[in-house]
Structures are given as C-alpha cells and as structure tokens.
Subunit: 248 residues, 2 copies
C-alpha cells in the first residue's frame, strides 16, 4: 500500500508521499514515489504513484526516456503545450504499461499490475493544475469542490483533510495538516511507512520549490504526532457530554 | 455498508450502530442492526450486525426461534452457561446461514451473503465479554490491548477511537466519542447513515441499560458535528507550523 496526497492551494501545489513498498508482510522496502520534472521558467511537473511498483517505475522510466529522445516521439512531457496534454501523456503511458503486463497474465493476477497516479504542475502562463490518473488511462482534474486528491490507503487520513483543508493555507500550515493526516494513516496501516517525501510548488514560480524527506525520528514529526494525540483528546473534552444517560 | 462499534469500559459495555442498508445507490432503507436479549438478573446480550441483511436477519430469527423452543435444541442463547458458549452459538448459526445461501450459488456471488457480527454481554457472575464473529464461524475476544471492535466501514472513524479511547470513560463521554467517530464516517461514506442506535450496559446490572436512537436532526448530534469540526481546526492551529519552508 501507499499513501500520497496532492493539494491545490492559493499559494501553489503541495505534494506528499510515503515511501513504503511491500510484497508480503516480510518483504518491505523504501522507494521514492514522487518524481519531479523541471524546465526552469517553462514548467514544473510532480508525479505521485501508488500501486504496483514495477508498473509505476516503468511509467516513469518510459516518460524519462521519451523526454530524452524527442526526435522519436513528440511532444514529450517536457514539451507538452499544456498540463492537460501532459496528463494525457502520463495516462497513455500508464495504460500502455498496465496493458503490456496484463497480456497473457492469469485473470486473477492482473489486478496486481494496476497503479493510480497524481500529476500536478504548471506550464507557461496557464494556472497550476492537478490530476488524478486511473490505470484505465482516464483522469479527472481537481477543482474548487475537490481541491485535493489522495491515492493508496486514503481513508484513515481523510476526515482531518475534509475538515481542515482551506485554500488559503500557507505552506507551513499545509505541511502540518498533511503530517497529521499521514500520522493517522501510519498508526492504522502497517503498509504505509515513513519517511515521507514532499514538494512545495509556488504558484507562477515555474521552478522546483522546497523538497525534502521527513523521517520517523524527525523531531518535528514526533512533536506533531504527540501533540496531535493530546490536542484531539482536549478537543473531545471541550465538547459537551451526552446527557441522556439516566442515573442507575 | 454499515458501521457498528462495540466497546469494553470499566463501567460496562457500549454499543452503537448505524441503520442504513443499501442494495445499489438508489435503493436505501433503514433497518435496525442491533438486537438485544435480556433475562433480568441472569443475562444481557447485545448483537451488532454488518453485511448481507438477509443473512443477518436469518441469524437473528434462528437464534430467536431456537430460544423459544428449548426442547428442540439446548442450550439456547438464553440458557447458554457462558458468554463463550453464546458466542459459539451465534458463530455456528452465522456459518450455517452463510453456507446455506452459498449452496449452488455462483462463485462470484457468494461473497455477497457474508456477514460479520459483534456480540457482547454478561452472563451470571462472570465479567462482561465482547466478541467479534467472522462469517466463517470463528471469533476473537476483546482484551486489554484491543478493547473495542468495529465492523463495516471502519477506517474513517478509527483514528479518533485509537487516540481517545480510555477504559475509564464514563457512558456520557463514550457516547460523545462514538458520535464523533460515526460523524466522521457519515461524512465520508454514503452507505453509512443516521439514525444511530445505541445500548449502554452497566457492568453487573444484568438488565438492559439505556437504549435509544439518535437522528440526523438530533440537536446534540448536530451540536457535536459542528463543534467537532471547529475543535479539530482549533487543535490543528494549536500545533506548531512546519518551519522548514525557506522564504521565496
């Protein structure tokens, strides 16, 4: 499993992903699930991947190879005229890889090769855009009503995002919100694991923003995890108790 | 889908269930998913059901019928000597019903007839016990490390239970905690719906405790739902922001 979130803010785009992959409970590894492309002054793209690791790595490798030999195939991800075209390109590549692995596979096994991706970024003078790409090669775009996408193990970390997301969040506040959401997921699902990778893209900068990795032993992560547990209990205490229990 | 929780407290046992059943998105109904049995001074049993409604109703009907004609089959749920024996009886009945519906069914369809149940209660001088019963007819018991069970759509409402559960909670506090957990689930999954049924069993009382139903228009439910959203945001605000974002 995996947990990744991509979020549209007034300030720009925020991305976070975990790094755990597992093939069975006793075969776990750390892999980067966030891929960045940059042509300074022209475009920045961020891709988050969930699902079969062989599939998602193939997709990224194909996208990279094709960007390096634009004479074979144009446009590439680095020359696509719009984010919509870039999303189309990632979606087509994903569908191509999934279809190839599924050929001749056992029916029951084919689900395994599936993957879902989040692509966000900005090209030229168009505004930043964020897409959720399905293994079938179709995709949807974030809008005012659905300003963030989650992929992988999305349920545990969703309630706090639904309640606390605000487009006016600063990067500092958005990172805090995401860390709380990731911490809730981590506590409930063994197949989601730290460290967490992030990328903060500033609207209209057209260059990579701050990126980094937050480990389990990160002091800020531990402070938030502990303080959030206490703050939740305090929040619950602040609400009125259910008064309809008669005395025994 | 469904959402039910059974919880062991120092004070006794707490049960809550939603009431929505659906066969497709446009065919929804309200059904009671909590069943109570009482022999005052001797035993109180509470059963929560999730899964196929035909299966769970059959199980309850069979248990009831057999209780009424103990000459045919002994012991019945109302004469079982221990909670363990009662859990065995419910589990056997569940397995029997699931197996019957599956006979001759299409393989792909059989999963549909599945159900999962929570049984809690107290018999005689033994302490209260709580069991999670699987469709295969086996079951596990709550203990100090796992003092509550959830069935159905369990993920959205789990983080707050994990963080705020405490065996010393009063019934009033436990109801508040459960309402928050149910509200988070309700907000995320259309197939979980109010009203919510509850039963609060006082340890060693050996009689039914307060029961009731909380609707969407219940003033307390609405107060908690609104106040919880605000309290969550305030809790998040109270944590330190992520300070590692460099100035642009």
């Amino acid at each position: 499993m995996t947990y990744c979130v991509g979020m549209v803010l007034d300030r720009g785009l925020v991305f976070m992903s975990d790094t755990r992959t597992n093939a069975g409970l006793d075969n776990i590894s750390t892999f980067r699930k966030i891929t960045l492309w940059e042509e300074p002054g022209d475009r920045v793209l961020t891709l988050l991947s969930s699902g079969n690791l062989a599939t998602t790595q193939s997709v990224v490798s194909l996208l990279n190879e094709r960007s390096k030999s634009p004479e074979d195939r144009t446009p590439t991800l680095l020359t696509a005229p719009s984010m919509f075209q870039a999303a189309n390109m990632v979606a087509d590549t994903l569908r191509e890889v999934v279809a190839r692995y599924r050929q001749g596979g056992l029916t029951a096994e084919t689900q395994k090769f599936s993957a879902t991706m989040i692509l966000g970024g900005q090209i030229g003078e168009s505004p930043p855009r964020l897409f959720l790409i399905y293994p079938e090669g179709n995709f949807i775009e974030a809008g005012r009503d659905t300003p963030f996408f989650q992929i992988g193990e999305t349920k545990y970390g969703r309630p706090i995002l639904v309640r606390a997301y605000d487009p006016a969040l600063s990067f500092e506040q958005a990172m805090k919100l995401l860390i709380v959401s990731f911490d809730s997921t981590l506590k409930a699902n063994l197949s989601v694991g730290a460290p967490f990778d992030y990328h903060l893209y500033s609207r209209d900068s057209l260059k990579l923003g701050p990126t980094g990795r937050i480990g389990v032993d990160d002091p800020y992560f531990n402070e938030i995890s502990l303080a959030w547990g206490n703050a939740l209990k305090a929040a619950l205490d602040s609400l009125p108790d259910f008064e309809r229990v008669p005395d025994p």
